[in-house]
Symmetry: C2
């Protein structure tokens, strides 16, 4: 079935209000969950919402917490999220980084002690909408073995970079694992092979079998040793600038909470519309690997899905919708 954006958002907000989210936080978090669904990121929209609610019920997210400015290292502001809703904290942090960038060319917020921001791309779109180049990243619980190891010791630490572009912002939102666990479960349930190697099986062989990777826990970093190193360095950077918890310390808890994030904005001072068009056109001018497919810039397909879901409604699993109405 397809549900309209506004109907979906109304339900999210109703449930959040019942969980004691105040009006402002309920509105913001409901909007982000609905936007994620609208953009086709269902894994962080309606499909994630029940898990988020459970986190709140388990007391892992403090709905009343407000982020506080702790100190400043020059233009880098250091905030404490007090384990409030991750989407709320991240939105405020990026908003503050945008504000600082408008004043000083660039601005940064180092946020510690926050919770899962859901879809990182949200904050990339936010920066781009404000005419800023946005860069942000987060650490996570250890969910990937470092290169050379077999047990998870690094996070998939998603990295977001966005470039303002009127015709469609360019928004990269990528985790350091070749596939997220969400994607692996999807392929597992559909009994499909991954398009490229996604990890190792229990015998240490690279495999496209999602079931074998879920079983071994040996998810593959992008670019093997390279993604492993990038994940490690992002965690070190986060721990250094936020004064918050590293992947290790987060992993010592039973559930992922108290994580560290960094938000950097550069104010876009050059009118780059034509430049971006040229770069996109040039990139797309490469002969195609498969004539039935296209070369895309990051964010391009999201815009198409968004427009389709806006006009036709958001595809929602019948059971998920029934459960949402029942919450």
């Amino acid at each position: 079935m397809r549900i309209s954006y506004s109907d979906l958002k109304v339900e999210f907000k109703r449930i959040l209000r019942r969980l004691s989210f105040n009006e402002e936080k309920a509105e913001l978090c409901a909007t982000i969950f609905a936007d994620n669904s609208l953009d086709g990121i269902y894994s962080h929209g309606i499909n994630r919402f029940p898990a988020f609610v459970q986190y709140v019920k388990d007391g892992l997210i403090d709905v009343d917490a407000e982020p506080t400015l702790e100190d400043r290292n020059g233009l880098i502001e250091r905030w404490d999220g007090h384990c409030g809703p991750g989407m709320y904290n991240a939105t405020l942090a990026m908003d503050r980084a945008i504000h600082l960038a408008k004043e000083n060319g660039m601005g940064a917020v180092a946020l510690r002690n926050t919770t899962h921001w859901m879809r990182g791309g949200t904050y990339g779109w936010q920066a781009a909408a404000a005419g800023c180049i946005g860069i942000c990243f987060t650490n996570t619980i250890a969910n990937m073995p470092p290169w050379g190891g077999t047990q998870p010791r690094i996070g998939n630490n998603p990295l977001v970079i966005s470039i303002p572009h009127e015709k469609g912002h360019v928004v990269l939102d990528m985790a350091m694992s070749q596939f997220s666990y969400g994607k692996l479960y999807q392929y597992d349930q559909a009994n499909q092979e991954l398009p490229v190697y996604g990890g190792y099986d229990d015998d240490g062989f690279l495999t496209t079998n999602a079931t074998a990777i879920i079983q071994s826990g040996r998810v593959l970093p992008i670019g093997y040793w390279k993604g492993s190193a990038l994940s490690l360095v992002l965690d070190m950077l986060l721990t250094s600038v936020t004064g918050g918890l590293s992947v290790q310390k987060i992993s010592e808890k039973t559930k992922e909470t108290g994580i560290s994030q960094f938000f950097l904005c550069l104010n876009q001072s050059i009118d780059n519309e034509q430049l971006m068009d040229e770069i996109i056109r040039y990139t797309k001018s490469s002969e195609l690997m498969n004539p039935s497919e296209q070369i895309r810039y990051p964010g391009e397909s999201i815009l198409e899905i968004r427009h389709r879901n806006q006009s036709e409604g958001i595809p929602v699993n019948d059971q998920a919708w029934a459960e949402l109405l029942d919450m």
Copy 2:
């Protein structure tokens, strides 16, 4: 044969002085070429030096050029490198970013119209030595097909992130291609298979055969679609903030010159020595994939090679050394 660091540097400097490099530039560039060799990055040390000299002789590098500050976007300074020696421009740019970071918590220099910086890690080590987190990246000539394409339209756009750590700075220096062309030629000459897929052959199959990849030109981005997207976004960011040339515009020239670079520094305000030790120890605590190998942090093996080459001399190909003496 092994040559001492000082003997190697003396030769580099002698040749640069003969090419009309002034004392300061010759000293700096000779030091960087010697350091790259000392650190085991031979591809950007003695093995690259003759190509650099040829670039100078061909007039693609202006030895007399001095970078100039063009304007400021708040705290982001925009410089023009006037196609001077890339290593000199990059060192001055990172130095300026460090200076700004010490004053304001963070600092950034956007550099356009510069030339190849040789080994990106150089400027990561430079920032870390000054107690700063350093982030820098460059664009290049198109040398990799975008995901979904078969013809090169994106650069391998190396990204460097460094974290200060007294016991050994953590320095990530990675291009967006799974293997550099230098590495591919190495495997090709040794008739060895790559350890993982490095690209596609002419028939569109993923392969570990370096010869087939050199033939097709279809180098693989790290993480397939992910590295392709990251490369594209870095080029857009560079073009936006520097006002300089994109990968496309660089590729319209016959040789790679007039490239764009960005240098960002965050002043390290927290004493993070113990934190970094903990993260490294935790990462290394993963059970090993291969008991005869180790889990390494980026920069770790460089430090070992550096110490060995310092005490035993730098391994140099006999012919390369003879040619250098003859230049």
